[in-house]
């Protein structure tokens, strides 16, 4: 399986361990990720708020680059995935939007390539059976609150790979890795996303609620699929709260027994090692 890979700006900075773990885990599953040459910012949380044409144009430009490569595009960041897959959906289903995107990005849209989140590739293309077969060190006993965040599975017509209100793919993945997904109601409740800089006090309230709900549900840790969520859940938490937040790809790396995994986990602001030692998963 070969894909073009769109890391996005955050995965080169605050989400660097998501980038490293995604690449490593893909390799272990026989999924080849080729970084999209010349990729540029998709506009992320800002373009759609200020200028509709920029939002479509910046995303369409990257779709044009992916089209040139002739490979489906894999996007790990939920925010980038939203921008790119929404623009693709608009151009695919609305001739007016297609013409607008083509004009803005200066290309001709063929619709030949598809855009996937990495979680979607794991669930749909690789399959949980294959994941379970790759596990060398099952995460036995680890109770996980799977946090999808708001964007990964919405809007539903753009994200048909999982349910929009009560998604299950991360839970299935946790189970395939030998861990125990807990049942909780905040799977897709927004963490405050890009308000982190402009309205940190709002994000703090949302994050405190999420973390205490995860604890109440009996979770030892949370699992995230988005660099914005992961960073908010670590940076904007109450001072006394120490529940770790993993990227799902990091947990896959740990369960696959990849030697690089501890290196990613050292980048976290909230130290996950005491928990992992308690479950004999590191060291």
């Amino acid at each position: 399986m070969q894909y073009s890979y769109y890391p996005g700006c955050s995965l080169e900075a605050t989400g660097v361990e998501y980038n490293l773990s995604t690449r490593a885990v893909a390799g272990a599953l026989g999924v080849e990720l080729v970084e999209l040459p010349g990729w540029t910012c998709c506009g992320s949380s800002s373009a759609h708020a200020v200028n509709k044409d920029l939002a479509l144009g910046l995303a369409a430009h990257n779709i044009a680059l992916a089209q040139e490569q002739g490979r489906d595009l894999v996007v790990p960041c939920s925010a980038c995935y939203t921008c790119l897959s929404k623009a693709d959906h608009q151009m695919r289903h609305d001739p007016g939007e297609r013409a607008r995107g083509e004009m803005l990005a200066g290309f001709s849209y063929t619709g030949e390539i598809q855009i996937y989140s990495f979680l979607e590739v794991v669930r749909v293309q690789v399959g949980m059976e294959r994941v379970a077969q790759t596990v060398r060190r099952p995460l036995t006993g680890l109770k996980l609150a799977c946090y999808y965040g708001c964007l990964l599975v919405r809007p539903p017509e753009v994200r048909p790979f999982d349910r929009a209100e009560d998604p299950t793919s991360l839970d299935e993945l946790a189970a395939a890795l030998g861990a125990e997904p807990v049942s909780w109601c905040y799977k897709t409740t927004c963490c405050g996303a890009g308000l982190s800089l402009t309205r940190p006090e709002v994000v703090e309230q949302l994050v405190a609620r999420l973390l205490s709900a995860a604890r109440e549900a009996g979770a030892d840790a949370l699992v995230s699929a988005c660099p914005l969520c992961q960073n908010n859940l670590e940076m904007r938490r109450p001072a006394q709260e120490d529940i770790p937040v993993f990227y799902f790809t990091e947990l896959m790396g740990l369960a696959f027994g990849l030697g690089e995994a501890p290196g990613w986990l050292k980048k976290h602001l909230v130290d996950p090692f005491p928990l992992l030692q308690r479950f004999s998963l590191v060291g």
Binding site: C9, A13, G106, L151, V202
Partner: protein
């Protein structure tokens, strides 16, 4: 287009049908279908700190309360999380409406006192325009400098930096294609 004054408990507002039609056209949403069931508001956490709930915004748009809506805090608190649109029984994508309102307010330079959302978005976009990608370290610094709030989050910044999460030298790509998109999109410096 006819305008009139409507006296609500919150004060007098000018009814302006042209505004309602403009929002409907730009957002592509069937605003007239909203019957105030409040499902959108019940799942909306981010805007709880705002001045209106999402259903109130919808009603104010129906009234054509241009100034109240474009000057509200709520629109800048909306994170486009899409919870509201998913649950609206009338299929109204409130997030699209919120985006349209933000775009309209930004184009007119309207923002409530102390609201730095538009500033953040402009800094974000000028990073893209200049370099093709967003350098998070630079963006955070510029935002802090502009808001005069340099010392909040200093400790956090240092922790991120130490873990190699705020690289000083970015892998940027000056890209004429991106510049051209900004030119074609217009309205964005």
């Amino acid at each position: 287009m006819a305008t009139a004054t409507l006296h609500l408990p919150a004060g007098a507002i000018t009814v302006d049908a042209a505004f309602r039609e403009e929002v409907a056209r730009l957002s592509g949403q069937p605003l007239e279908l909203c019957f105030q069931c409040q499902k959108c508001a019940s799942g909306c956490y981010p805007t709880q700190e705002g001045d209106y709930t999402p259903n109130e915004i919808m009603r104010l748009v129906q009234y054509g309360a241009r100034d109240a809506v474009l000057g509200s805090r709520t629109i800048w608190l909306c994170t486009s999380c899409e919870t509201c649109g998913l649950r609206c029984p009338n299929g109204i994508r409130i997030a699209e409406v919120m985006d349209t309102l933000k775009q309209m307010a930004a184009a007119r330079g309207i923002a409530p006192a102390g609201e730095t959302g538009p500033l953040f978005h402009n800094l974000f976009l000028s990073e893209i325009r200049a370099a093709g990608r967003v350098h998070e370290t630079m963006l955070m610094l510029k935002y802090k400098l502009k808001t005069g709030n340099l010392f909040a989050d200093m400790k956090l910044g240092w922790q991120l930096f130490r873990r190699g999460k705020l690289p000083l030298v970015p892998r940027l790509k000056k890209d004429p294609a991106v510049r051209r998109i900004f030119e074609r999109a217009g309205g964005q410096e």
